[in-house]
């Protein structure tokens, strides 16, 4: 057999059938479900008198709508409450495992899957959420789907799909001090653009990727959708296996050994060919800050806000002008001069324990700047929160002036009360800087947790390489 990429292996081992025109039925091993994109799918099932095919493949959690303040008394907003209640009722009706809002295991769907060992190497993973690509860090074929597809997977355990092309992004060498997976992700998007990965499944490889923890690899795969790729993935190695050992949903005993033997094969063969290769030197990556309204509008922290006058293509110039107007930015201003009103540390990109540690390390007993109105830390899950509290990070954040919240999506998309007011500028560890994403009129700058923490302390962006 010819040499295969990891993606080839994952694809071919899940093919139920493939037609001559390339349209395929792909078997799905893990279906993660949350409250926003599932109610219409469950309704559709009922309407057609169908039932979920494999209840044991489904894990559900409410994360997008839940308040991050004290929620022992339930959700106040009646519309949010109805949506979360609907998820609870659907899970109860079909016997689906769900981490309810006040379950200690609750959290953002892309944090809890891996944390519980519900995401395992070699799986096909879907969720009605574009950041499902996160799970690819475990050598899974993980992709976001729409609500009709959620219904389709519930009813058939399959997804109608067509094979993507394969891209390999190799990041070689060592990252500089204070740099993280988030900076790699933003640098990759800056290089290939937000549509650069459209139609591709991306495998992240190279020594800098191998050196990342699972948390870092998840951050990287999480943002492959921001590069246009539905799926991102990293091959299995010791880091993957060490992370999974002993997780609640992971196999145990003899089954664990069998599983590990199989997982070791989940790497691209040395001779495997990719349709596109991208190469980045880790040492050349600086801390990244987005300045515009698309993740590709990103620059190193040492740069300045770009000048539309320097752009000849009229469509590009106009897009840039529009972005700068929305962001309230003047061309030529140094990124480090941009002052922030709010800081958000959280989201499925950067709310894991390592992210919180990286942010805490920057704070070192200092105070949030007086000009910052709100600095939020929202852990990605109950277990992350507990771990951070065991390490005393909650006290450190709170002493510095950060708020310490309950787990959920929070200000990543502002479906609950955590949001920006018009024109407020935010340093955010989330993944999207679209217009209005964090609240109508809000201005989002995407950065790493360390960069967000440093901005909270200084009141403006700073080059953390000089801080550490």
């Amino acid at each position: 057999m010819s040499a295969q990429t990891l993606y080839d292996k994952l694809w071919s081992s899940h093919l139920v059938r493939e037609d001559a025109d390339g349209s395929a039925l792909l078997y799905i091993d893990r279906h993660l479900v949350h409250e926003v994109t599932s109610p219409q799918a469950f309704d559709g099932l009922r309407l057609h008198g169908r039932k979920p095919r494999r209840i044991d493949s489904i894990l559900a959690v409410a994360d997008h709508n839940v308040p991050t303040t004290d929620r022992s008394g339930g959700i106040v907003d009646p519309i949010s409450r109805l949506q979360v209640d609907t998820l609870d009722a659907n899970c109860e009706a079909y016997g689906i495992t769900e981490f309810r809002m006040n379950d200690p295991r609750q959290g953002i769907v892309h944090v809890i899957g891996p944390e519980q060992g519900a995401t395992l190497p070699g799986m096909t993973v879907v969720c009605g959420d574009s950041h499902t690509s996160t799970h690819g860090a475990f050598a899974c074929l993980a992709q976001g789907i729409g609500t009709s597809e959620v219904e389709h997977v519930l009813a058939t355990q399959c997804l109608v799909a067509k094979k993507s092309r394969a891209m390999r992004v190799r990041v070689e060498g060592e990252l500089g001090r204070g740099l993280s997976a988030k900076d790699i992700a933003l640098a990759v998007i800056g290089q290939i653009g937000t549509a650069g990965g459209t139609g591709f499944a991306i495998e992240f490889a190279g020594s800098a990727v191998r050196a990342l923890s699972m948390e870092g690899r998840m951050t990287l795969c999480n943002m492959s959708i921001e590069a246009g790729a539905r799926a991102g993935m990293v091959a299995v190695d010791d880091t993957t296996i060490d992370y999974l050992r002993g997780r609640p949903f992971a196999p145990k005993g003899e089954m664990w050994s069998r599983a590990v033997a199989h997982w070791r094969t989940l790497v691209s063969d040395p001779q495997a060919r990719f349709d596109r290769e991208v190469h980045i030197e880790a040492a050349s990556i600086e801390p990244q800050v987005t300045w515009g309204t698309s993740p590709e509008m990103v620059a190193p922290v040492s740069a300045r806000v770009p000048d539309p006058a320097a752009i000849s293509d009229p469509a590009k110039r106009e897009a840039l002008e529009r972005a700068l107007a929305y962001m309230g930015l003047t061309p030529g201003v140094a990124i480090t001069e941009l002052e922030v009103d709010k800081v958000f540390i959280g989201s499925c990109t950067n709310s894991r324990i390592e992210d919180l540690r990286a942010a805490a390390a920057v704070i070192r007993g200092r105070q949030v700047s007086a000009r910052v109105k709100l600095a939020l830390v929202v852990p990605g899950s109950g277990p992350v929160k507990q771990q951070a509290e065991r390490e005393g990070l909650d006290r450190l954040f709170q002493a510095a002036g950060f708020e310490w919240r309950e787990p959920g999506c929070s200000m990543c998309l502002a479906m609950n009360d955590d949001r920006l007011m018009p024109q407020e500028r935010c340093a955010s560890t989330s993944n999207r800087n679209f217009e209005g994403r964090q609240g109508a009129g809000g201005r989002t700058h995407l950065v790493s947790p360390a960069m967000a923490a440093a901005a909270a302390i200084a009141g403006h962006f700073v080059d953390i390489r000089g801080e550490l």
């Binding site: 009605g128 574009s130 789907i145 089954m255 897009a319």
Partner: protein
């Protein structure tokens, strides 16, 4: 799903790249548990000057006169023409639901984001990518000619410009079949239920840890 065969429709322009699904239908409207009510909030933050919230009385909204879809000449448009990477971002199927409910049956763009593209076809919204040069010409035509219409013909996979010029577009045969027939995709997949069952048995035998 709604069928689609042929349409002769008024065209509205969306002359910008990277129009994301957050812009198409903002998050506050995603709290709904049904499939309807999204058209009223299509492009809400761009279309209105007052902040939009679910359940608002639409007659009291403050439209943004500068937003293109609010121009009287585009009222009733059924074809939306856009630039590159249309529908990027979130997987929310509420985006095609909103476009359809607003009245669009076709979106033509230089390129689309994958998940959005897929979601369109699950709902009978035809999405087709055309060369940038052609999109350019269509957008120019729309700007200069009030009442600019396009004929979009699925069986022949072509777009017919007012000049009579006919341009082809690509579409995967499966998608074309389901659009033309308004097929229930789940029903079609379930015709393979034996193959799915057989796959499952073999899969369980080789990787039993994937099954609880």
């Amino acid at each position: 799903m709604q069928k689609f065969e042929r349409l002769d429709g008024l065209v509205a322009p969306m002359d910008r790249a990277n129009v994301d699904t957050d812009a198409i239908i903002p998050k506050q409207f995603l709290k709904a548990i049904g499939r309807t009510g999204f058209g009223a909030h299509l492009f809400d933050a761009w279309r209105f000057k007052d902040p939009g919230e679910p359940g608002m009385d639409l007659t009291r909204r403050v439209p943004n006169p500068d937003f293109v879809l609010n121009a009287p000449r585009y009222v009733g448009a059924q074809v939306l023409v856009a630039r590159a990477n249309f529908g990027c971002g979130s997987s929310r199927e509420h985006a095609p639901w909103a476009l359809l409910e607003y009245g669009f049956r076709v979106v033509l763009a230089e390129s689309f984001a994958d998940i959005f593209f897929n979601n369109c076809f699950k709902n009978g919204l035809l999405a087709a990518d055309l060369p940038a040069e052609l999109i350019d010409r269509i957008l120019q035509g729309v700007a200069t000619q009030v009442g600019y219409r396009l004929v979009v013909d699925l069986p022949s996979q072509s777009v017919i410009l007012p000049s009579g010029e006919t341009c082809g577009f690509e579409i995967e045969p499966v998608r074309k079949r389901s659009l033309l027939n308004g097929l229930d995709e789940i029903g079609v997949t379930l015709e393979n239920v034996d193959a799915i069952g057989a796959f499952e048995v073999a899969h369980r035998a080789s990787q039993p840890w994937l099954f609880a």
